[in-house]
């Protein structure tokens, strides 16, 4: 079969020289089932025009568009309880940091000779101050007694050492008292 005429029409089509009738001839030709292999690549071009014409909007298109435009889209977003408290925790942490820094600064600026002991662990043995007074007095007496005893012994040993040095011209170290 000679397809020279079709080829010429195609040539003129690309040159934009075809008339509407000639373009209709081409469309009709390419709608055939059997098309030669060397012209097959042009089929889609002419068939597409035909099939595209057949594509139409569905009956429910308007309804779908209107539904999308008119109804606001509300999506439920679940927020856990802990997230609600997050600002509170952050605020608490900030307050704790500020308080700690403040206390530290206060301590460093006002460095009184304060004991740094943790007295919270102390459990008072006595509830009566008079009884506690007696116990403290006795303890103070014991410490006082030890200091006096030390001073007394140290003085005695010093005298003994001095005497020994004088007599023997040799040094004798006191063994009973360790001088700190």
């Amino acid at each position: 079969m000679d397809y020279k005429y079709i080829e010429q029409l195609l040539e003129r089509f690309w040159q934009c020289e075809t008339s509407l009738e000639e373009e209709q001839i081409l469309r009709t030709f390419f709608q055939q089932k059997e098309i030669p292999a060397h012209l097959l690549s042009y089929k889609h071009l002419f068939v597409y025009e035909q099939t595209a014409k057949e594509v139409k909007l569905g009956n429910d298109f308007d309804a779908k568009i209107l539904a999308r435009i008119e109804k606001p889209v509300v999506t439920a977003h679940h927020v856990p309880f802990s997230r609600h408290l997050r600002p509170l925790f952050k605020a608490a942490a900030v307050v704790a940091i500020i308080l700690s820094l403040g206390t530290a600064a206060q301590r460093s600026f006002h460095r009184d000779i304060e004991t740094d002991y943790n007295y919270d662990t102390y459990k008072d043995t006595y509830t009566d101050p008079q009884v506690a007074y007696g116990e403290i007095s006795e303890a103070l007496m014991s410490v006082s007694e030890s200091i006096n005893k030390y001073q007394e012994q140290y003085a005695n040993d010093s005298v003994a050492v001095a005497a020994a040095n004088t007599e023997d011209n040799s040094q004798v170290a006191p063994d009973s008292i360790k001088k700190e």
């Binding site: 997050r86 952050k90 704790a96 043995t125 103070l140 005893k149 030390y150």
Partner: protein, 166 residues
């Protein structure tokens, strides 16, 4: 949230651990299961109450003046195993040699005694006396602000017990 909690806990823990332990607290912590040791405590609050009591005579007045420099007191005692507990106390001192400095120590035929002090800016803030006598053991632990004047007053004004003097 976890980060905030961690920061908070860290701050609280740091603040808690920053507080130091006195000698007796440490000693009792190391011997917490020992039922032979008896501990007596006078907290700063009770010390304040004690200072509010009226002095009956001059001696008590002097005593009160000395107590004004004290903040707390703890006493640990045992009627037995004096030597054993004394050695334990010495070990704690050895472990904390930078914390305490020796003040006096003596030992005679029946008594072994040491007084250690902890100083801060030249002032004694803790005084520890531990002694071992006739198998009895005792630690006396004072905290407060004690200067040289306090020690002088303590040595001069306190009347030693007559029975121990003999």
């Amino acid at each position: 949230m976890k980060r905030a909690l961690t920061i908070g806990c860290t701050i609280v823990f740091t603040a808690a651990t920053a507080m130091a332990q006195d000698f007796v607290s440490r000693y009792m912590w190391e011997n917490k299961h020992d039922t032979l040791l008896h501990c007596v405590s006078v907290s700063p609050k009770m010390m304040e109450e004690v200072l509010k009591t009226d002095a009956k005579d001059e001696v008590q007045e002097e005593m009160r003046n000395i107590m004004m420099d004290l903040k707390s007191m703890q006493i640990v005692s045992s009627q037995t195993k004096g030597d054993f507990y004394f050695n334990k106390a010495e070990k704690i001192i050895e472990k904390n040699i930078n914390r305490f400095e020796p003040f006096i120590s003596f030992n005679d035929s029946n008594e072994n005694c040491r007084i250690m002090v902890r100083k801060k800016e030249g002032v004694i803030i803790e005084l520890v006396m531990f002694s071992h006598k006739n198998d009895h053991f005792r630690i006396i632990n004072f905290t407060g602000c004690m200067n040289e004047h306090f020690i002088d007053n303590l040595a001069k004004t306190m009347i030693p017990k007559q029975e121990d003097k003999d």
